[in-house]
């Protein structure tokens, strides 16, 4: 499968839209401290089903919603949509293109969609099982955590290897 693009609204510091097209090869994201680079990777982590606020660098999930600035009001909800090219069929749904999206409201209410159809969170995490994609694979490396695999307990490392086999 390939990652095609991500669109977000009201996600963290991206008050309006964030649209990122990912092509083949290497995409670099650059900018000054605090401008929002890591926030964009939090969006991917979240839409793939991350449930731990700590892993998303927030105190509670509602803090993912744009919280306003000195001259702009907070948003009432956030949505992240990510689109995959599934031509090779590695995602077990009969579509050439698959869009996964997730919404969160200030009330704490959540909604999940696959190709516009409402689903449960579990359907999203099941979709990515065994594809090497997901919040527990080592394919989403958080800032400051590059040597996590070295610090992991020897047993945790074995589990990572087991996952690869």
């Amino acid at each position: 499968m390939k990652l095609k693009r991500i669109s977000t609204s009201g996600f963290k510091s991206f008050a309006d839209r964030l649209n990122l097209e990912f092509g083949d090869g290497i995409t670099c994201i650059v900018g000054p401290n605090g401008c929002g680079k890591s926030n964009s990777s939090d969006a991917v982590r979240w839409v793939l089903g991350e449930q731990s606020p700590r892993a998303l660098r927030v105190n509670r999930m509602q803090d993912l919603i744009f919280s306003g600035t000195s001259d702009r009001k907070p948003e009432g909800m956030t949505e992240v949509r990510v689109v995959f090219d599934n031509e090779d069929g590695s995602l077990s749904l009969p579509f050439a293109e698959i869009e996964v999206s997730r919404r969160l409201y200030r009330s704490g209410e959540s909604e999940y969609f696959i190709n516009k159809e409402a689903v449960r969170l579990k359907d999203i995490t099941d979709l990515f099982a065994n594809t090497g994609v997901g919040t527990h694979s080592y394919s989403l490396l958080e800032q400051g955590r590059v040597d996590a695999i070295l610090k992991a307990k020897p047993n945790e490392r074995r589990e990572i290897f087991e996952e690869a086999s």
């Binding site: 990652l3 991206f14 990122l20 092509g23 995409t27 090497g132 490396l141 590059v146 070295l150 690869a164």
Partner: protein, 165 residues
């Protein structure tokens, strides 16, 4: 399951040594199953030797050496079970410029099978990029993304990192 794990483990172990030697320009690295009798419950230990130094546990490694070793191990695992895409957030933070360049060149070998999305502050990593997105906060606290043109398409000036026999 035990057989499958041991086959995968052996592949990762060999990839790790090969990738370590490429990124360090020599030396060697090894993985050891601590409890041969009960492999699926065992821990995995890491030993490595930068060129000219002694084989040791990774505890006394420098910050940059740990990052490089972690990168070598992660890529060893990716070679066995490639994630379709990989988000790396400032994995080059502890590296000096010579090592960032080696890391960027290592990426060139993997990008045909994996989409890399890399957050970085470093120009040597950017030199490997196929596309560049700049994140800014023109309005304080509000992030926006801009597609950035390359003055340099120096992707073609980066030579792949040679194998070290």
């Amino acid at each position: 399951a035990r057989k499958q794990f041991l086959d995968t483990f052996e592949q990762i172990r060999q990839n790790f040594n090969r990738t370590f030697r490429r990124i360090f320009g020599g030396g060697r690295a090894d993985l050891m199953i601590l409890n041969e009798a009960n492999v699926l419950e065992s821990g995995v230990e890491i030993f490595a030797q930068p060129p000219g130094k002694k084989l040791q546990s990774i505890t006394p490694f420098s910050g940059g050496e740990k990052s490089m070793t972690a990168i070598a191990l992660l890529f060893a695992i990716y070679q066995v079970k490639a994630s379709p895409f990989c988000f790396l957030d400032e994995v080059d933070a502890a590296l000096d410029d010579a090592n960032v360049d080696r890391f960027a060149r290592l990426l060139l070998d993997f990008k045909h099978q994996t989409q890399f999305i890399i957050v970085t502050h470093n120009k040597h990593t950017m030199a490997a990029a196929d596309r560049l997105y700049g994140v800014t906060m023109d309005k304080p606290g509000v992030s926006t993304v801009v597609s950035m043109e390359f003055e340099h398409r120096s992707n073609y000036d980066l030579s792949p990192l040679p194998e070290v026999e």
